[in-house]
């Protein structure tokens, strides 16, 4: 079998073969091997964190990752920034007929590897095949479940003026890497997506300083989106320093060429942390000890004024508002 056909999704022999040869083979854990209708799991005591996400990225493969790795990391990260220790993942696949089996297998293998890197198995799944044109090659929906340790309280309501704003590393890498994979643009960069699971990194940060106020991962919409979400309708604002933002040279330069703002570009392996000012250096040290946190930096602080806004002190020495992006960044030349 070299191409996915509609019959692969019809629930019969072909479906069974596909599941065994690709999904069970690569996800390879005792739970999924049982092929039950539902995974029966042991869960430690505590509050349960539960999240779901859908992935429809084009192209399927980009420097530094693919839709499968993205699906695993994206879901793990949603759990991780909630303070949860991720435990299990489930994944549903909607496949467009005609997709080469080799492509599917590559992606599933990548998901399995990402799961292993994060220490989290994919224990349940589903497969559907749709007619040509009914979906764009492959859509993946993932659900993740984890446990939040007793006593851990993260929330925007815990944030106070004076708190420090930390970013765990360089911003905008994923968006630019994904863009460079779309052939039309004829610009190339060695930039790779930062797609990575953050659970271990953030657990280290929490171990160093359990009093972290809040964490969120800036995906589409970039860091600007997260910062604005934090201050919206609140009695505090955020001020960031342009010179403190960790931005790789490739992202800076691609942004200059295309007219993008790094603050609005997608990330897939970064987190924004709000911590008490006097704990900032402790958290920073803990982050920088890990590979994924090498470029972590304090980029700004929470302020009492202006309320509900994000301001940036620019490299030139001025100030401007950082707004939510309206839609996807479009290459502009005018």
């Amino acid at each position: 079998m070299d191409t996915i056909l509609l019959s692969h999704g019809s629930g019969g022999r072909r479906t069974h073969e596909l599941i065994k040869k690709i999904f069970v083979r690569h996800f390879a854990n005792p739970v999924i091997k049982q092929l039950n209708d539902a995974a029966l799991l042991a869960m430690p005591a505590g509050r349960i964190a539960f999240t779901t996400d859908a992935f429809v990225i084009q192209p399927l493969f980009f420097p530094g990752g693919d839709i499968g790795k993205l699906a695993v990391c994206g879901t793990v990260n949603d759990l991780a920034v909630s303070g949860a220790i991720p435990r299990y993942l489930a994944a549903a696949f909607i496949i467009e007929e005609g997709l080469p089996v080799e492509t599917l297998e590559k992606i599933v293998r990548s998901m399995a590897a990402a799961g292993r890197a994060a220490g989290i198995p994919v224990v349940a799944g589903d497969t559907k095949v749709v007619e040509k044109g009914a979906c764009d090659k492959l859509f993946i929906t993932t659900t993740g479940i984890g446990v939040v340790p007793q006593g851990l309280r993260l929330g925007i309501d815990r944030i106070r003026a004076g708190d420090a704003v930390i970013v765990t590393g360089t911003i905008g890498d994923h968006g630019i890497a994904a863009l460079s994979a779309r052939k039309q643009l004829s610009f190339s960069t060695r930039l790779r997506s930062d797609c990575a699971p953050l659970n271990r990194l953030l657990q280290k940060a929490l171990a160093a300083e359990p009093g972290i106020r809040f964490m969120r991962d800036p995906t589409r919409g970039g860091v600007a989106m997260v910062l604005n979400e934090i201050v919206e309708d609140r009695s505090f604002g955020i001020v960031i320093e342009e010179d403190a933002l960790p931005v790789s040279v490739g992202v800076r330069e691609a942004s200059q060429i295309l007219g993008f703002d790094p603050l609005h570009i997608a990330n897939e392996g970064k987190a924004v942390l709000i911590v008490k000012r006097r704990e900032a250096q402790t958290v920073l040290r803990a982050l920088k000890q890990e590979l994924l946190g090498t470029d972590a930096a304090v980029v700004g602080e929470v302020t009492s004024r202006p309320e509900g806004k994000v301001i940036m002190r620019t490299s030139a020495g001025g100030e401007r508002i950082v707004d939510m992006p309206v839609g996807e960044q479009l290459p502009r030349i005018c």
């Binding site: 295309l258 007219g259 490299s315 100030e319 707004d323 309206v326 839609g327 030349i333």
Partner: protein, 361 residues
């Protein structure tokens, strides 16, 4: 350019300190920049508030998208609804509202609209899709026009027969002249667009400087360039001069880029053009020469049925002329926001209203 952060900061600060020592007439001065990229960079760096209050910066009609009449967008929409048609466009046009729709909405409805960074990509799309008619939305000023002309010539040489151009290219010096002649804007000097001037040279501004007694300085786009150019304008003002000077001399030569202009002139000829909110300015636009009629979308497609209407309450025109600031428009921030723009000034990334809304509210 490598960033020497504290040096960069110090340079700008030193220049601003110098600016503060320069004499300025009692009522202060108003300098206008006529380039959307200047509008954006000034806003992005937060420069306006760094200047002393008696030095005001205002934005003119420098955003090619904003000054494009609404009928152009409507024609683009009509084209994308044609059978087997692919519309290629710079990202800037994608969300500009037409009378009833916009390209973004049309794409959601199934139209084949592709955003390109370079006009060359549209030639590639045409070559790779011989069964389709590909139309490129040709907008821009002198910076962009030569590249579009080169693309038309390359496509001709490569015998690509399914590539067409809907042209609304414009030229800057005529607009500047018209603004001042109209007497609407009281201006004490111009920051001239650095990359437009790389093509045109600084000589076209001489007539404007002489006719209207305003100093003109061709400025680059780094914050340091803008601040240097403002200092140069102030020095001229203090000395009572109305000359054309080049701040951006690492790129702009007084005679400009002759080769690029020649290429543009092979393909385009001057024409009257409608500037949204200003009206028709004679000789301020470009149209394809007769020998290129076969690639002119206006002639190849029947667009006579396109009916356009300006949105009510929209004051983009006055904003473009620098006569009012965005908050003076009743729709600003209420009915007209970046998420649901009414006029082009809000939706274009360089639009005065967009820049104001995003950076300065």
């Amino acid at each position: 350019m490598k960033k020497h952060d504290s040096a960069h900061h110090s340079m700008i600060r030193a220049l601003i300190e110098r600016i503060k020592t320069l004499p300025v007439p009692g009522e202060g001065v108003t300098f206008m920049e006529v380039c959307g990229t200047h509008t954006m960079e000034i806003a992005r760096a937060g420069l306006k508030k760094m200047l002393p209050p008696h030095i005001r910066l205002t934005s003119g009609p420098g955003c090619p998208v904003c000054v494009t009449p609404i009928s152009y967008v409507d024609k683009a929409i009509a084209l994308c609804r044609e059978k087997n048609c692919v519309v290629t466009t710079f990202g800037d046009m994608f969300r500009v509202p037409g009378t009833a729709s916009c390209l973004e909405r049309e794409r959601a409805r199934g139209a084949d609209i592709r955003i390109v960074y370079s006009p060359i990509e549209s030639a590639r799309v045409a070559r790779d899709n011989p069964g389709k008619r590909v139309v490129f939305l040709s907008v821009g000023f002198e910076t962009t026009t030569p590249g579009i002309a080169a693309t038309i010539l390359h496509a001709g040489d490569a015998e690509i027969r399914n590539l067409f151009f809907l042209c609304a290219n414009k030229t800057v010096p005529h607009a500047m002249d018209a603004l001042l002649a109209g007497g609407k804007a009281a201006l004490d000097g111009f920051l001239c667009p650095g990359h437009v001037s790389a093509i045109t040279g600084s000589l076209p501004y001489r007539a404007i400087a002489a006719r209207h007694n305003v100093p003109c300085v061709v400025a680059g786009f780094e914050p340091i360039d803008v601040v240097r150019a403002i200092a140069m304008l102030l020095v001229q003002t203090a000395e009572g001069r109305h000359d054309v000077e080049i701040e951006y001399d690492r790129v702009v030569r007084p005679e400009g880029n002759r080769k690029a202009r020649d290429i543009a002139e092979r393909v385009f000829e001057p024409a009257d053009a409608e500037w949204r909110g200003i009206g028709t300015i004679p000789g301020s636009g470009l149209r394809l020469r007769g020998s290129f009629a076969c690639v002119d979308a206006e002639q190849v497609f029947d667009l006579s049925h396109v009916v356009s209407r300006e949105p009510r309450g929209c004051r983009c025109g006055e904003i473009l002329a620098g006569a009012i600031l965005p908050p003076a428009c009743r729709l600003f921030g209420k009915k007209c926001t970046p998420e649901h723009p009414v006029g082009a000034c809000m939706v274009s990334s360089e639009g005065t209203c967009a820049a104001y809304y995003t950076y300065e509210q």
